[in-house]
């Protein structure tokens, strides 16, 4: 990624740009979290509310910017990048899928047994 050619050049401009992007995303997240528009909060899509999916996508975008530009993952070799990123992404998705499915299953079984009236 031509990292060494630019090693001694300042990246200050890029850093402030990334900071701007991260700030805007955070402000959007907070605004949505406070407003909670009913059309996004109380409807359902893909098993959860559209609002939750927006939050999840924005979080992943933030994670991408932090890893790629603050941690300089973009400047590492392809093999190091894949060794770290693919491993973590695969294992996290794998564990999350299994445990969340299991959690809803337990809820299906136990939920009806919980008493809410006295």
């Amino acid at each position: 990624m031509a990292a060494h050619a630019q090693e001694h050049k300042s990246h200050t401009k890029l850093i402030w740009k990334v900071f701007g992007i991260l700030s805007v995303i955070t402000i959007v997240e907070v605004a949505l979290g406070i407003a909670k528009p009913e059309a996004l909060h109380l409807t359902k899509i893909l098993g959860t509310s559209p609002l939750n999916i927006i939050f999840l996508v924005l979080t992943l975008v933030k994670a991408y910017y932090i890893t790629w530009f603050f941690m300089h993952m973009a400047d590492e070799t392809k093999s190091l990048r894949r060794a770290v990123v693919w491993t973590s992404v695969f294992l996290i998705i794998y564990l999350a899928t299994l445990l969340l499915i299991e959690g809803s299953y337990i809820n299906d079984v136990l939920g009806p047994l919980v008493k809410w009236n006295y």
Partner: protein, 326 residues
């Protein structure tokens, strides 16, 4: 070909030699793999939180009703604002860290020193903010009653808004004190007494016809807690076991015990990472000042602690999403 390793021996076993597998120095690559394993630890915690949340999906506490405090605005209902500020503090200290790394690449010692100092200050402010957040969470805001089967009952007024116990419960000012060793009761142990007894709460509740209660159960359509009509409230309160104010690992006024347990554990583990990050940053800061890296001819050490510091920020992005937003 970039993954090819040329073998070369070196007298210093921890130096890593001059081999650069994957194009990174020994220390930097090891920092990346440490971060990978630490990321998996954190995701294990967060996924466990998700598991329990899905298990109790119909009664999980609503974050907006738990984290409502803001400095100098006592009693105001201000969800999200405070934690948004905390997020900004951490992101900003990440920016100053990456500026320090950038200055290090250009061998500008004064700039590295200045940005490292800003990063340390940012980290310290974040830690203080987190301590304040914990203090509010532990202290509680309204108080609640726990039933014999462990469920939490909260009090609401006719508008459906939560009401603090102090605002309506009349204490009988009993002389009963906490049993402690210092009072000569070495043979019994007791946790701190709650400010009111169950009997006082029930008696005061009967004297306030405008109040009613709500359960932990979420209404799936409106995503709000279920309010019980006042006529049925007494059959719930007859089951009351204890008055709960605030949160600890055994019981909390916000709802499910596991919510507080995961909050303490995950934000605590993250806070511990921030603390160790600040300490490591301070060590590197002084090394920069005394010119260690100037003599070494490379500020790579700043880059390595920078990686750790950004990782702490990265984790906070996820904690923020899963504890406060989703």
């Amino acid at each position: 070909m970039e993954a090819t390793i040329a073998t070369e021996t070196n007298e210093k076993p921890w130096g890593g030699g001059n081999n650069k597998p994957l194009g990174a120095s020994y220390g930097k690559m090891m920092m990346w793999f440490f971060i990978l394993s630490d990321a998996l630890t954190f995701s294990g915690f967060l996924i466990a939180y998700g598991f329990m949340r899905f298990k109790f999906i119909e009664s999980w506490p609503i974050a907006d009703e738990v984290f409502t405090h803001f400095p100098f605005m006592h009693g105001a209902h201000a969800p999200m604002y405070y934690v948004a500020i905390m997020t900004f503090i951490l992101i900003f200290s990440s920016v100053t860290m990456v500026l320090a790394v950038d200055a290090g690449h250009q061998m500008k010692k004064a700039k590295v020193t200045f940005y490292m100092l800003l990063t340390i200050i940012g980290g310290a402010i974040f830690l203080g903010s987190q301590a304040w957040e914990w203090k509010n969470f532990i202290g509680g805001s309204y108080g609640a009653v726990q039933l014999n089967d462990g469920k939490i009952i909260q009090f609401v007024n006719e508008d459906g808004l939560q009401v603090a116990l102090e605002s309506f419960v009349i204490s009988s000012n009993s002389e009963r004190a906490q049993h402690t060793k210092s009072r000569g009761l070495w043979f019994v142990e007791e946790t701190a007494l709650s400010p009111f007894t169950v009997e006082e709460v029930i008696a005061s509740f009967e004297g306030h016809p405008e109040l009613t209660i709500r359960t932990e159960l979420l209404n799936a359509e409106t995503k709000t807690k279920t309010i019980v009509p006042r006529e049925q409230a007494m059959s719930y309160l007859n089951e009351a076991k204890q008055v709960v104010v605030g949160a600890n690992l055994k019981v909390n006024e916000y709802g499910n015990t596991l919510f507080a347990d995961f909050f303490f554990f995950i934000t605590g583990f993250h806070g511990f990472h921030v603390l160790s990050g600040v300490i490591i940053n301070i060590i590197i800061f002084f090394n920069v000042i005394i010119g260690t890296y100037e003599r070494r001819g490379s500020y790579e050490m700043v880059e390595k602690v920078g990686l750790y510091w950004h990782f702490v920020d990265l984790v906070w992005v996820f904690v923020f999403t899963f504890f406060y937003l989703v």
